[in-house]
Amino acid sequence: MEFNYNLEGGNFSRAGAASSEVKKLLKQLNVSPALIKRIVIALYEAEVNVVAHAYEGVMNVVFDNQTIRVKITDKGPGIPDIGLAMQEGYSTASPKVREMGFGAGMGLPNMKKNCDSLSIESQVGVGTTVTMITHLQ
């Protein structure tokens, strides 16, 4: 079962919409509330990252009997040093983005904490692909 959601860079008013849609699906699948919470927190962080940093992106969600696999692919500036970006508090967000309450430098660490496995591939000047896998049971 596969779902795709388009993400629009810079449109903060819609940030969180895709995560909310996935949350509805997880509720339909009778996933435990605590697990839904983890997954949605990770998705929301990823979604906001695309909105805050990239030009556009797609959230691809695939369910099977055991797992939810989410791949967020964006066209954007890319991450030059993934190791640095994974450190809590490190942020490249502009002052404008921070004023909106985003960009505290907790995004990637928070995503890692709230999924079973996280992988990031990025090419500077092209874009970033984040894949998160979480077991549903």
Binding site: K23, L25, K27, Q28, N30, P33, V40, I41, G101
Partner: protein, 453 residues
């Protein structure tokens, strides 16, 4: 009193219902379908918020109440009022007149439940200090919101404050007070005047509590009419003096209004009213989008209890009356004669609710993940053929919900009138069969008046 598993106060009067779909489209939990031309409420999904009642042009949705005559069985009768009750009357009718007429109607003691808000406020502050792990705290003031969280946001149940509300504290207080004065407990009948269906449901089937301290409920519109009539009959007569007459301070008057709780606590406190606004905020809380919230006051009705389904006065006029009442209190340097603090220890000890608030998720497609996934795939396939105009002609509020009902075996794809036209053209359905299908949803009479054109 009989306690149903999931008691609901909202009932459809099928003789009055025309199946117009207004209620079906406003229900925040999609609990309503049309069958045989009548609205049918799914008890598992209903939160008793009252949106259906407010939207019904035929007044076909009512709030079931206890038989008023039952009240007279109790030798000592207490009537509990929410503060918005006084707000139902214009300024030409004084609080003294209202209290006196309630005595004339057969009540022995009149008290507004918001007298207990002082104790409740102290209790809530203590509770918050003792349970920091529950932050953000969600108020359990509005029973419709507690039920909404149970069915749509079960992950937020641990945040709900577990304390008795003003109505139950006041009921316990009155009971104790008169037992101490020598009246046998079985002789005391405590009745609450309710502004909404949710409070009734909370009394008949309390969440997280063994039983309510309230014996029965009286619908606000019902007692309002009785009182108006009585006032007319006693016009010009001197107003009887009532010993328990008192004044309420502005803090207590504001409690049931929007912001009335949130104003009292430290930190970032939000006050949200109207159930769709509440759903919007709960979605954000569930996503962890709002980081540092300390307290959420959530009310199902627009303008909180002043907008309750059983109120008779315009909600803005209700608030105006209550505001003036508060201003009068300040201008005349009144003080509240509140004897409840004498029982503070007794009432505080039993304020904590110990029962569980159970999750009752309505969105799950199946207990089993594999089966749920299969059903989800089926819904996606069905959605590709449905017109997605959400016309409601199938008897469900949206195409998505019809698809949901189909996979659960509660509806058929051919209920969709677009599908029926296609199937008829393809010869898979005769025009008679198509008509019979529509008649099953909308009732035969909707298809019998064609000759009258």
């Amino acid at each position: 009193m009989k306690k149903d598993a999931f008691y609901h106060a909202l009932k459809v009067v099928s003789t009055a219902c025309t199946g117009c779909t207004h209620c079906m489209h406003v229900c925040p939990t999609s609990a309503i379908r049309i069958k045989h031309g009548k609205a049918v409420i799914d008890e598992a999904a209903c939160t008793d918020c009252g949106m259906c009642l407010k939207s019904c042009p035929q007044h076909a949705i009512i709030v079931a109440q206890d038989d008023f005559a039952e009240i007279l069985r109790f030798p000592f009768r207490v009537i509990l009022l929410p503060t918005v009750f006084i707000g139902q009357f214009g300024e030409d009718i004084t609080e003294e007149q209202i209290f006196a007429e309630l005595h004339n109607l057969g009540f022995d003691y009149v008290i507004e439940v918001d007298k207990a808000t002082g104790l409740l406020l102290e209790g809530t502050k203590r509770y918050m200090a003792e349970h920091p792990e529950q932050r953000p705290f969600i108020s359990n003031f509005c029973p419709a919101i507690v039920r909404l969280i149970q069915v749509r946001f079960p992950s937020l149940i641990p945040h709900i404050i577990r304390l008795k509300q003003a109505m139950d504290i006041t009921a316990a207080y009155v009971r104790k007070k008169y037992i101490d004065l020598g009246i046998p407990e079985k002789d005391i009948g405590v009745f609450y005047v309710t502004q909404c269906a949710a409070k009734i449901a909370a009394i008949k089937c309390p969440v997280g509590e063994e039983r309510s301290s309230v014996d029965g409920v009286i619908n606000m519109d019902f007692i309002y009419n009785k009182l108006r009539l009585s006032l007319n009959q006693h016009k010009g007569e001197p107003v009887r003096e009532i010993p328990e007459q008192y004044h309420l301070p502005p803090q207590a008057l504001r409690w049931t209004q929007s912001g009335g709780e949130a104003a009292n606590y430290e930190g970032r406190c939000l006050a949200i009213d109207e159930i769709h606004n509440v759903i919007d905020i709960l979605e954000k809380i569930e996503n962890d989008e709002l980081g540092d919230i300390d307290f959420l006051e959530l009310r199902a009705c627009d303008h909180s209890c002043a907008g309750g389904a059983l109120t008779t006065n315009n909600r803005f006029l209700t608030l105006e009356r209550l505001k003036k009442r508060g201003e009068y209190y300040i201008a005349h340097h009144l003080s509240s004669v509140n004897k409840m603090p004498r029982y503070a220890d007794f009432l505080s000890r039993q304020m904590q609710l110990n029962g569980e608030i159970l999750p009752r998720p309505i969105e799950k497609l199946d207990e089993d993940l594999t089966v749920a996934l299969q059903k989800m795939e089926k819904i996606a396939r069905i959605m590709k053929v449905l017109p997605q105009v959400d016309c409601g002609a199938c008897g469900a509020p949206t195409c998505q919900i019809l698809a949901h009902d189909i996979v659960q075996g509660k509806a058929k794809l051919s209920q969709c009138i677009f599908m029926q036209k296609i199937l008829t053209q393809e010869g898979a359905l005769t025009p008679e069969e198509s008509l019979a299908m529509s008649a099953e949803i909308w009732g035969d009479e909707k298809f019998e008046n064609i000759e009258q054109i």
